[in-house]
């Protein structure tokens, strides 16, 4: 059974193409009084409403905000990999991004607040690398 694929569109193509080049690309608002980073990709800045965000490569570093050990995935294509850790990560640049953490289920304790760095895996989806996270330090 194949895994659910993202739909790549004019709005998010730089993000997904960046993943394939091992780069985390985020949008950033260009309004003088805003300048915030944006994720998920949008046609405008959700912080101030400005319409000219630009793409920038960012650090790929962040901190675990919260996580779960998924024992029972909602989609059959993930059954063989369960249990695995799914987490919300706050990137250094501000935005919230979701991903899995490469860690054994037995070590999935007290992860909130731990520093992580992004890695791009090519073994998940056909032709599309998918960002994962690794614990650092």
């Amino acid at each position: 059974m194949s895994k659910p694929m993202p739909r790549i569109t004019a709005v998010n193509r730089p993000y997904w193409e960046g993943c394939n080049a091992d780069k985390l690309m985020l949008q950033r608002c260009t309004a003088a009084d805003c300048g915030q980073y944006i994720f998920y990709p949008r046609v405008c800045c959700p912080h101030c409403g400005d319409g000219d965000p630009v793409w920038e490569q960012v650090s790929g570093r962040g901190q675990v905000l919260s996580y779960t050990l998924v024992q029972r995935p909602h989609h059959e294509s993930f059954y063989a990999e369960a249990p695995f850790v799914f987490a919300a990560v706050t990137l250094e640049e501000g935005p919230l991004i979701y991903g899995r953490i490469e860690i054994d289920a037995a070590e999935a304790e007290g992860l909130n607040g731990r520093p992580v760095a992004i890695v791009f895996r090519d073994d998940q989806l056909p032709g599309q690398k998918l960002p994962f996270f690794r614990l650092t330090a």
């Binding site: 993202p6 919260s66 998924v70 024992q71 995935p73 909602h74 799914f86 919300a88 979701y98």
Partner: protein, 387 residues
């Protein structure tokens, strides 16, 4: 005269189909049965209805207009809920405004769905663009995975334990045992709750709802029509909706209720202490915590402590989800946004059977449209019996 926002509008009927794990019934039949029961309870005939507010996930390619045609309704007012489990109450309030302003006389407020677990998961994978593109490719665990993150955060920030969430689940099961329509027929002990199958840590089986088939309906009528009817009558004292609140902040452990409850109470002319029950949207116990706090029924960040000393069963001092809620009666898709309204209306009409609460007024609330990490839409309303 007071200046309640929904003056001149009455709730005059209520109906609910049996909740079933599986059914061969087409969705249109489930919806018709719930509406037919509600019209009969009001003493109204189908041809007296001139409005329909409808929410159902499995309905497309049909919609509220084609369902009106299917039922043979000539409708002056239609509403289709696009806010998941917040839609039932939002539709009811839109219908109440239409009646108040003279656009319609009798509106059927209806929700229903036909879901098994597989169909529910399939829908959720593509629920909206952000879920499809930035959550589903990770096998995020569906809504269970999403709300596991909120539950863990509430526990870590406030010192709540799994047992504290279990208190709600165990109490609601006790309520469900007195509701003949509920799917779960066996008592739930705290031990069974704590040791149930792991789903998405810290959530286990009884933190999660059971997708099922069913429909829920209430009937709104103008005061003029209501005067011709014999049954008990209720009014809507106040209500509210709030979406994407707070914006750009997924993990505030808050949602729209905190943004509108002051206004809801002030327009209703009562406070949280004057409520006799709360019928909450219980997709997960942590969301009930957030509703209780947002509507000022329990103290912010301390709902776990409040629950340790408050009986929330049907016979307690603050009854919650007196029919068992979605956690113990079942989640019939979009009906999850109406099951609490139906239970509240039954209670206020004195039709609560073995679980009847002594009550004059109570609050009902809804929540829905899970998107990037949380549900976006919150709604609530205060209902009161007119003696």
């Amino acid at each position: 005269m007071t200046d309640h926002p929904f003056d001149g509008v009455r709730i005059v009927g209520v109906g609910q189909t049996l909740y079933e794990k599986r059914s061969q019934k087409p969705i249109h039949r489930i919806l018709w049965e719930a509406a037919d029961l509600a019209l009969k309870s009001a003493g109204l005939k189908w041809r007296q209805a001139d409005g329909l507010a409808l929410t159902s996930f499995v309905l497309p390619p049909d919609n509220v207009a084609t369902v009106a045609e299917h039922f043979g309704l000539e409708a002056r007012f239609l509403f289709q809920g696009l806010y998941g489990g917040a839609s039932g109450i939002i539709g009811m309030m839109h219908a109440a405004r239409a009646i108040r302003d003279g656009d319609a006389e009798v509106v059927i407020c209806l929700a229903g769905d036909a879901f098994d677990v597989a169909a529910h998961n399939e829908m959720l994978d593509r629920f909206n663009g952000s879920v499809r593109d930035y959550l589903s490719p990770y096998g995020f665990g569906g809504a269970n995975g999403m709300f596991a993150l909120h539950t863990r955060l509430y526990m870590e920030r406030n010192g709540a334990t799994r047992e504290d969430f279990g208190r709600l689940c165990v109490a609601q099961r006790e309520n469900a045992l007195r509701n003949p329509n509920a799917l779960f027929k066996e008592p739930l002990t705290m031990d069974a709750y704590l040791n149930a199958r792991e789903i998405a840590d810290p959530l286990r089986l009884y933190d999660c709802v059971m997708p099922c088939f069913g429909g829920d309906c209430i009937i709104l009528a103008s005061e003029k029509v209501a005067r011709t009817l014999k049954g008990p009558q209720l009014r809507i004292l106040g209500g509210g909706e709030y979406h994407n609140f707070p914006a750009n902040d997924v993990y505030s452990l808050s949602a729209g209720w905190e943004g509108f409850s002051d206004r809801m109470y002030s327009r209703a002319g009562i406070g949280p202490k004057d409520l006799h029950f709360a019928q909450l949207y219980d997709d997960y116990p942590v969301m009930e915590y957030i509703q209780l706090e947002g509507m000022q029924i329990s103290p912010k960040g301390k709902t776990h402590e409040w629950l340790r000393k408050t009986d929330v069963t049907w016979k307690g001092e603050m009854p919650i989800n007196t029919g068992g809620g979605q956690l113990s009666a079942g989640q019939a898709g979009a009906s999850g946004g109406m099951i609490g309204v139906v239970e509240g209306v039954l209670q206020l009409r004195g039709e609560g059977g073995e679980r009847q609460v002594k009550c004059q007024r109570g609050v009902v609330s809804g929540y829905g449209m899970v998107a990037y990490g949380r549900g976006l839409s919150a709604s609530a309303a205060i209902l009161e019996r007119i003696d």
